[in-house]
């Protein structure tokens, strides 16, 4: 069988086109990947430093399309490479749902957030502002309403009122120098 130079040429063109298409798609995907991340500051608890406990902001990138859920998940299970800090959330406290209306985030947690709260006034600030400050480090969120199983409650532990949306608070925040 003899292949004409013309058909060889066509084949070559097709190959080149295919290759550039693959390259193009790959590049586009890479570009997209960049755009799906948003930076969030996790406010993690530092129980051990002198003068503490403190909330330490740690910057991480989370997926944009489920940013609140990812941020709260990381707040509950901080990445292992972040040392010296731990999650301020009580055991078993899971985010059930999250909704943003205007600049207020409504974060609905499982009942463990209240039931497993161990007490302590400063500790209550760590939990509440760990959540509020983390959510408010995201674009567009200015206040947070914490809900337990869909309901507004007065207080987690009897020291802070959470019946209305809260703004971030830096009283316990320590900036790593």
């Amino acid at each position: 069988m003899k292949i004409s130079t013309k058909s060889l040429f066509v084949l070559l063109i097709i190959c080149v086109l295919l290759l550039s298409l693959i390259l193009f798609l790959r590049l586009r995907r890479e570009g997209k990947e960049e755009a799906v991340w948003e930076e969030v500051k996790l406010y993690l608890a530092d129980y051990t430093s002198a003068g503490g406990p403190f909330l330490i902001p740690v910057k991480v990138k989370v997926e944009k399309n489920d940013v609140l859920a990812s941020a709260m998940d990381l707040l509950r299970n901080p990445p292992p490479y972040i040392r010296g800090v731990s999650s301020p959330l009580p055991k078993g406290a899971n985010l059930l749902s999250a909704e943003v209306k205007g600049d207020i985030a409504y974060l609905n947690f499982s009942k463990e957030l209240k039931d497993n709260f161990p007490g302590g006034s400063t500790n209550e600030m760590l939990v509440v502002y760990g959540i509020v400050n983390t959510a408010c480090s995201l674009k567009k969120i200015k206040r947070v309403q914490i809900l337990i199983e869909g309901k507004v409650i007065d207080s987690l532990g009897g020291h802070l009122e959470i019946s209305a949306p809260l703004e971030p608070d830096t009283e316990l925040v320590k900036w790593k120098s």
């Binding site: 129980y47 003068g51 406990p53 009580p90 055991k91 161990p118 007490g119 302590g120 006034s121 400063t122 500790n123 600030m125 007065d154 207080s155 532990g157 009897g158 020291h159 802070l160 009122e161 608070d169 830096t170 009283e171 900036w175 120098s177």
Partner: protein
């Protein structure tokens, strides 16, 4: 004499035997490369034909050995290298000559003003340089072209988390790289124009951003008390920390920047031994002012929109008021369905708090309790109660806890509003001395009841239920009685100026 004669003879002979040969070489003069220059290597001496006018300011009082050949003038590299300001090298294999400026640590200086940091690099002749600002991590670099660094590497901490690194980045071309590591923030960076024999880099705080500026720190003495005031360009939030070992008062103002024309105190008065200030952070912009104190001192803080005023030392005597005639609200924390902290052995905070509050009422029967039994009272309900009885003062009684795996220790007292700071200090002093536990300090925290009560209000945390040895104390009547007595004594101190 005879020696030198012999030497010159030898020299003459050798030059006859080995005629000076001209060859092509490459010359780097102050970092600039000149190809195909004429060079003569003679008896280990190197002569290069070169326009040395960039070095003219150095050569005013120096006579260089020169050779003339045709219309070219050859300069001795050896003579140039004898100049202290220069560093010259000859690579016989590569046929390459280098003439660079010798850069030493003493040529690099830096100066700090209230809002800027200025680096200056002085060189004997003008040098060109390239600059850049890089992020993640934030750093500033400056490549000085045509210089050799002695020693080849310098690293220094400038303070404020700034690190200066200088090293020989390359030889031929000769580049010294100056890097400033800025871990926290990217200030405004300005470089002097290139070339220059006085290179400056100035780093300025990002002023006029969102936030106020700290314009002045004043210290004065009046009516036997020492006052310090911080003047701000506009209202900002602040928090105070009274610390010990060594005793000091820190005030963090945020969002705020240091004004470039910050006015500083001329004189210190006791108990202030020193004042320090810094741009503590840039994200968020926070200014920290620290008053170092000769001894632990009571402080009173007032703020107006653009002024924070601190009164040190003996607080002016309050108008004497008989405790029995005042409306004092004692608020046992938690209750009913809300137990508060629970120790490992099942001791509930709500019970301990209520018992202490009842003991206060036994000592001082005129006090009002927000709850007399184990019942639910909302945070709002407690504040409303203070409104109803038209309270003069409100004290919330709690005991602390840390999450599982942590213990916690000591006595803490919280206040939120300025009108409550002195009350907090009075009660806290007695608590610490009567309980003998570690002093956790007087801290400003926005707990609901102390934020919203209509009168001076504080929240005390006697001891930690999560700490087994403190739990042991809390279950004894004697210890709870001591807390109750400390509360009353602290109140007396506050209202009656008593012991």
């Amino acid at each position: 004499m005879r020696n030198s004669l012999a030497l010159s003879l030898l020299f003459l002979l050798s030059s006859l035997l080995y005629p000076r040969e001209e060859e092509k070489c490459r010359v780097f003069l102050l970092g600039k490369s000149y190809e195909l220059q004429s060079c003569i290597v003679d008896q280990g001496k190197v002569f290069v034909a070169l326009d040395i006018s960039p070095l003219s300011s150095l050569l005013k009082e120096t006579k260089l050995t020169t050779l003339k050949k045709g219309n070219e003038t050859f300069y001795s590299l050896n003579d140039l290298s004898n100049l202290k300001a220069l560093s010259c090298k000859w690579d016989g294999e590569k046929k390459q000559a280098i003439v660079a400026v010798r850069l030493k640590r003493e040529n690099i200086t830096w100066e700090r003003t209230t809002s800027s940091l200025i680096f200056q690099i002085t060189t004997p002749v003008p040098l060109s340089f390239q600059t850049g600002i890089l992020s993640s991590p934030n750093r500033v670099f400056l490549d000085i072209i045509g210089a050799h660094l002695y020693p080849a590497k310098i690293e220094e901490n400038i303070g404020d988390n700034l690190k200066m690194r200088i090293e020989q980045h390359s030889v031929a071309p000769d580049v010294v790289r100056f890097v400033l590591d800025l871990p926290l923030y990217l200030p405004k960076v300005e470089f002097s124009p290139s070339p220059s024999n006085r290179i400056t880099i100035s780093l300025t705080s990002p002023l006029k951003g969102k936030g106020s500026e700290l314009e002045a720190i004043h210290i004065m003495k009046s009516d036997g008390s020492t006052f310090a005031s911080l003047r701000l360009s506009q209202l900002s939030q602040y928090k105070t920390l009274l610390l010990k070992n060594p005793p000091r008062l820190a005030i963090d103002i945020s969002p705020a920047y240091l004004s470039p024309s910050l006015i500083l105190p001329q004189e210190f008065f006791s108990p202030i031994s020193q004042v320090r200030w810094s741009q503590f952070s840039y994200d968020p912009p926070t200014v920290r002012v620290v008053f170092d104190l000769e001894k632990e001192t009571r402080v009173e803080i007032r703020s107006e929109p653009s002024l924070i005023q601190v009164k040190f030392g003996s607080v002016a005597p309050r108008e004497f008021r008989n405790l029995e005639k005042l409306k004092i609200v004692i608020d046992p924390g938690h209750g009913g369905s809300e137990p508060g902290a629970i120790s490992k052995n099942g001791v509930r905070e709500k019970d301990i708090n209520l018992d202490i509050a009842r003991r206060v009422k036994v000592i001082l029967p005129t006090v009002f309790l927000t709850r007399e039994d184990d019942i639910d009272v909302s945070l709002e309900g407690r504040v409303n109660f203070a409104y109803q009885v038209n309270a003069d003062v409100f004290i919330s009684i709690h005991n602390n806890s840390m999450p599982e795996g942590r213990v916690g220790t000591g006595t803490e007292t919280y206040y939120f509003r300025e009108d409550s700071l002195i009350l907090a200090q009075c009660v806290h002093e007695v608590l610490v001395s009567k309980l003998g536990l570690p002093d956790g300090g007087v801290k400003r925290r926005g707990f609901y009841v102390i934020k919203n009560s209509p009168c001076p209000s504080i929240l005390i945390e006697g001891a930690y239920l999560s700490n087994p040895s403190e739990e042991k104390l809390l279950v004894t009547e004697e210890f709870r009685q001591r807390i109750a007595e400390a509360v009353v004594e602290g109140l007396r101190k506050y209202f009656e100026g008593g012991k």
